[in-house]
């Protein structure tokens, strides 16, 4: 069944444009055995912990086998983001699950390419295609 819960993370005041007031927002949505993780804002060293904590919590409680990382509204990511994604990928893999990524912005996509993560994760153009791709393997 569909379970939906939204987690808001606001740890820091904004600098610059209004939409940057929120540094990172994590939204989790369960679709059967797939956890959709939507990240909005900026994923760096400061905000990586909350992503680690939220995803770890959901995965360890056994609510999902696979994860779709939905990054349409992730405006910025650096190598700290790659680290936390790689860590959750390893955790899922050790439990027999899969992680796929969808809707990446050009800058974020470039970092995945540069780091080689592009080779070990599957990338899709939309959440719908990503979930469909996972249901074939599950």
């Amino acid at each position: 069944m569909r379970e939906r819960f939204v987690e808001l993370v606001t740890r820091q005041a904004g600098y610059g444009e209004g939409e940057m007031r929120m540094s990172l927002q994590v939204e989790l949505e369960q679709q059967r055995n797939v956890l959709i993780v939507r990240l909005r804002g900026e994923l760096d060293h400061h905000t990586a912990d909350i992503v680690r904590f939220k995803m770890e919590d959901a995965i360890m409680r056994g609510r999902c086998d696979h994860v779709v990382l939905s990054l349409k509204e992730l405006q910025f990511m650096d190598s700290s983001g790659l680290g936390v994604i790689l860590g959750r990928y390893k955790l899922l893999k050790s439990r027999g699950g899969k992680m796929v990524v969808c809707d990446t912005q050009p800058g974020v996509k470039r970092l995945f390419e540069l780091s080689g993560l592009f080779k070990i994760l599957s990338f899709y153009d939309s959440e719908r295609l990503a979930v469909a791709g996972l249901e074939v393997v599950s």
């Binding site: 600098y15 610059g16 910025f76 650096d78 190598s79 700290s80 860590g87 780091s115």
Partner: protein
């Protein structure tokens, strides 16, 4: 743009200042009329360098000072990011892709690789007593320069 312009920013070694530093530098360089991709590269580089200073230089302590300087000269951006923390023991090793001295922190080991990739020149000076200083340069072939 003609002539030099310069900025210097010093702040506490706290992780919430990582976004403050990259957004500030990004705002400063807009006078060169960079592309969105170039702004993204500079933001990423500043973020990597400041994060390194906080995690590795000051080992998570928040009482250190990180200094970011940017200089614009013609179409050239010079960036420097320094700390007075613990220096890098083995520079050669630190610059290897995927190497990290702190695997327990889930570092990807890609910071140096990303900085070297996004900048035209990249140089590290580090000593145990004096901390670490990164100096980098990047040329921005701006839309303005194309029309001159």
């Amino acid at each position: 743009m003609s002539g030099h312009n310069h900025m210097k920013l010093s702040f506490a070694s706290r992780s919430e200042n990582e976004s403050f530093a990259r957004v500030t530098v990004a705002a400063f360089i807009t006078q060169l009329d960079p592309t969105l991709e170039q702004v993204d590269e500079i933001k990423t580089v500043v973020s990597e360098a400041v994060t390194n200073a906080i995690i590795h230089g000051y080992e998570g302590r928040t009482d250190g000072i990180v200094t970011v300087e940017a200089e614009l000269d013609g179409d050239m951006i010079s960036l420097s990011v320094s700390d007075q923390g613990k220096g890098i023991e083995d520079l050669e090793l630190a610059r290897q892709p995927l190497f990290t001295s702190r695997p327990e922190l889930e570092r990807s080991g890609m910071g140096f690789t990303i900085m070297e990739n996004f900048m035209d020149e990249f140089d590290v000076v580090s000593s145990e007593a004096g901390g670490t200083s990164l100096r980098m340069k990047k040329r921005i072939e701006s839309k303005k320069a194309l029309f001159n």
